[in-house]
Amino acid sequence: MRTAIEDRALVSLRGVRKAFGSFEVLRGVDLTVAKGEVAAIIGPSGSGKSTILRTINGLTPVDQGVIQVGDIAVTDPKVDKVALRHRVGMVFQQYNLFPHKTVLENVSMAPIQVLKEPRKEVEERARELLVGMRLPEKALSYPGELSGGQQQRVAIARALCMQPQVILFDEVTAALDPEMVKEVLGAVRKVAEDGMTCILVTHEMRFAREAANRIYFTDKGVIVEQGEPKAFFANPQDPRTKEFLDKVL
């Protein structure tokens, strides 16, 4: 099973270590995500979940270890940043839409300005993505005029419009009011079901169980346990995993 995944590996981290000052956030992380797989990283606050995500697209440089996304060596100092960001999309907890740009501009600007793709083509794609996110009528609105859930769905469309091979979801529902969590999780689920490789850090255990193919549990900078969702939640092996699941479920 593992070897099959290794063969189809799209994202792989080997022995990744990262310290902020004297605090070691990541203490040797190994992770492999295959193409089309949905991986959910769960774990207590401060266990390094978000840092793992941020190392994958190079937002946080690592101290040690090797990260590979397809044929791109992320940890190579001479890595082509534009190619990396083209391949790896990211959705943030705080949406981080550009407030001075319309929804359509938010979704389409990077492919036009960074990837130099033709405007007409990109805007057509952006409008389709907004339809997919059930926001077609909001194309010309500004982010400030949208609800949190709507903004986050625009952010997902923005990530998709770069046509990446993998999307990182960093606690995308954590800043939302409860009634908007469902619509955003629905959108993430749709992205996953359309075959996109997804790595998500989440506190939504039910969602992780239902949407992910594989669960990773992190604690104190290492991946303690991983497995298929059903087995993972029904029968956790490590005492730290058990303790965590007892608290959150």
Partner: protein
């Protein structure tokens, strides 16, 4: 001496002082333009990740921001050449122009801080989102950060201008014939004590009527942007 005659005396001198006030306005407008332009570069320099650029920009900003305006004015007045020669033609640099340059130095330093502060007030997530979309640092600054800064910079910029116009009478010390110098001249030539206070009140009103609306608009803008 009757009150009406004082009033007519003030009126008689008013055009003379107003012409001087025109020079205050001219100096302030030129200085804000020069200072703002230089301040943008200094402010961008302050957030630069190139060590030398950042260091020099921060040093210049702090040096000129924390120096008395009058001292900077003296520097520019006395250190600048009195005339410049461009292709065998010699131009005198009038003292009001040298004073203008003197005013634009602290304006640049103060605006540099306004720019730095505005850039710093944009949430870090904006930088990260841009970086994750493949934008370089300089393009992020130009296309994503700075457009969000302009509205934040407008109120403090207007306050800076109001400060600047009220500082321009300092130029009278170095011999520029602006409103204050002309008021003094008028008072001296009338040589009567009862004329002194009405004349200076008139001068005060001039500055107040010009500056107060600017402060009001600035405050109104500040309130408006805060709620957005």
């Amino acid at each position: 001496m009757s009150e009406t005659s004082i009033f007519t005396d003030v009126l008689r001198w008013l055009p003379f002082v107003l012409w001087g006030f025109g020079l205050n306005v001219l100096m302030s407008v030129l200085a804000i333009l020069l200072g703002t332009t230089a301040g943008v570069f200094l402010g961008l320099g302050q957030v630069s990740h190139t060590r030398v650029v950042g260091g020099v920009s921060r040093l210049a900003t702090q040096l000129f921001r924390n120096a008395p305006w009058l001292v900077l004015l003296f520097y520019c007045i006395f250190l600048m050449p009195y005339s410049i020669t461009i292709s065998s033609a010699t131009y005198n640099v009038p003292s009001w122009l040298r004073a203008t340059l003197g005013f634009s130095v602290p304006v640049a330093a103060n605006f540099s801080e306004i720019v730095r502060g505005a850039i710093g007030s944009v949430p870090k997530g904006q930088w990260e989102a841009a970086e994750a979309l493949g934008y370089s640092r300089s393009v992020t600054l130009l296309r994503i950060i700075l457009p969000q800064c302009t509205t934040r910079m407008l109120p403090p910029w207007m306050n800076l201008y109001a400060l600047l116009i009220t500082a321009t009478p300092l130029a009278s010390i170095v011999g520029v014939e602006e409103a204050l110098a002309r008021t003094q001249a008028a008072v001296q030539s009338e040589a009567q004590a009862s004329f002194l206070i009405p004349m200076y009140v008139t001068l005060l009103m001039m500055f107040f009527l010009y500056t107060y609306p600017i402060s009001r608009v600035s405050n109104a803008l500040e309130r408006r942007f805060r709620t957005v």
